[in-house]
Amino acid sequence: MMTLLTIFLVMLLVLTAFAVERTKDLLSAVIVFAAFSLVLSVLWLILKAPDVALTEAAVGAGITTVVLLAVLSKTERYER
């Protein structure tokens, strides 16, 4: 059961990483990147590294998203 969950999460991780790279809408890319960080945080927890998981959730899903959104408000929304 645990192995199945890990395989599912890793596949979701790869999928979100591809989605961040492929999408042209930068706002969607930032939101998908937050989802990527969240999945990675759960994976750290499964790998028995709760310290890294907490930092990943706080920095990856929190601060990085906010800073990238602030940068996005200064530039354009769509990639050319």
Partner: protein
């Protein structure tokens, strides 16, 4: 602009986030997390307030002059604690020799100087994130 929903949810969520950040910072020597993670959560709470109510409102409760002193003070506190350890115990950041009571392992007030270091790191990281956000959003 009708953003009463956003304001209400942020007002309800903000105390919970701040209490959680303080919990992570104060339990840095006992549980996962510590100064950096807790400081990042505290910084996220401040940035969330700034995003919801505007930069002027967030600068009113957490002005530039306060964050300036918190940033430098956090680093200075770590260096001063380390130097006290160097002069009293013989090496940088030496713990038991500084005379701070060690307490029983597992208690909240234990670990000698480690909780003090965690509080210093938490204040430093939180105020640095706020300064970073303000610097990004300010007009040229």
């Amino acid at each position: 602009m009708n953003n009463r929903l956003l304001h209400t949810i942020v007002k309800m969520l903000l105390p919970v986030i701040i209490v959680y950040g303080i919990f992570i910072v104060l339990h840095g020597h006992l549980t996962p997390g510590g100064g950096f993670s807790g400081g990042a959560i505290l910084g996220t709470a401040l940035v969330l307030y700034g995003l919801a109510f505007g930069q002027d409102a967030s600068l009113k409760i957490f002005p530039e002059s306060v964050s300036k002193y918190l940033e430098s003070g956090g680093v200075l506190a770590i260096v001063v604690i380390g130097l006290v350890g160097l002069f009293v115990g013989g090496y940088f950041l030496s713990n038991a020799a500084t005379g701070v009571p060690l307490g029983t392992p597992g208690d909240l007030l234990s670990g000698g100087i480690i909780p003090l270091l965690m509080i210093a790191i938490g204040l430093k990281v939180g105020s640095t994130l706020m300064t970073l956000f303000n610097a990004l959003l300010e007009d040229e």
